[in-house]
Symmetry: D2
Subunit: 135 residues, 4 copies
């Protein structure tokens, strides 16, 4: 059991009819994507071709911030608000789609962008799957 | 001129046809609301009636995180993406509406909730005004 | 290989004589502890005895913020500054020690505090091990 | 009265013998510096000479994260811990010194770096003044 799943298991009140597997996967994907995008922005800065990667850096920074915030919001269950959860998940999926597309465009040149594009795809997918389970 | 407006003025590339006044106001409102909601969550923790304020704490924490991320995204202009900007502004306006309503409900009892509700209203308004200027 | 280690592997410039294993472990521990502390603060809010847990909530919130920032700083290698890295690692170890002690005090009553105390210990340990490798 | 001072005024419990003016000034300086450094990192990305500014971008990103976290920690008073407060203020002053020096080096070429260097100096100063008031 992962740490995020362990914290869901030990939550002392009712989690409602949330899909725990989808929620744990999405929390993990958000934190992982936040780390990966932070590192990819920095890796782009160290490329000789940094001048061609400035849009990639910016997109990485936005995606890192949005994933970090989404991972925090999803880690809270007290006073749950389905509308706010859905709004933040839609924003996160949009940020991951944008960043995944941008990084994919440099994936053949820069391996950090390839690894980052995959993390963005996983996180976008995890957000969409969680949205589909929200009642 | 505020610090946020000063940073807009010194941005070295074209800002496009953004409404600078609306953008600067929204950046400032996001950072101010992030601080206020962080402080209001903590003030609620120190109330004797904390058990009745747990939903308020949670809503404050979400709103603080979302406003902080929105303020950062709006502070970046390189590789601007109108769709992502709109999505994050909609999410921020929703979080501020939720938190402003929650705090307003305790405003007559707790002055920090009254002050926080006003900051949430200002930030929600600033987000909506900026959304209206986006082409 | 974990995602953080994969991003270290694909960094395009020289990482210097950093201990990659210690660095990857610390990055992972910081992100994990940030998630766990965020969730533990929220779990405390849902306990009937929340009034006795307000210091624990506050300590969790501080530790979550400090671990998140430390995880980001450690994910960047461009323009590396050993003094700043050491300062932030010392602060993070102190926050994890404080939060681990606080959560340990409720570990027999609240399982989320037990799980969180362990995450804090792991992160404190990972910070101290990384500090010891810094030249 | 600023918003941060207003939140200090409405805090419902005892603030101890903290210097409220120094605390409010430091909170405001941290949030302002976090915004300015985020904007300066982005402005550097849009400079033609971005390849010469990558260390500045990195330093700005670290300083933004550390100031944001410090501003949040200082906005909380429940369960106050002087040692943790001092540790985080020392780390923040160090980050502001590093970033202020880096930006100062480009201040004659890039006005955003000049404005950012001043924000870093103010925040470093506010941190040191607050440290001096801690008993």
């Amino acid at each position: 059991m992962t740490q995020a799943a362990e914290m869901l298991r030990t939550y002392p009140a009712d989690l409602g009819n949330v899909n725990r597997e989808a929620l744990a996967r999405c929390i993990e994907a958000c934190f992982e994507c936040a780390q990966t995008c932070t590192a990819c922005a920095d890796a782009c800065l160290s490329e000789k071709s940094v001048a061609e990667l400035v849009k990639c850096v910016r997109t990485n920074l936005d995606c890192a911030d949005i994933c970090a915030t989404t991972g925090r919001v999803l880690s809270r269950h007290t006073g749950y608000d389905a509308n706010l959860t859905r709004a933040i998940l839609e924003g996160c999926a949009a940020a991951c789609k944008t960043c995944g597309d941008e990084c994919q465009g440099h994936a053949s040149m820069h391996e950090h962008c390839r690894v980052c594009a995959e993390a963005c795809r996983r996180c976008e997918q995890a957000c969409r799957e969680l949205i589909n389970t929200l009642s």
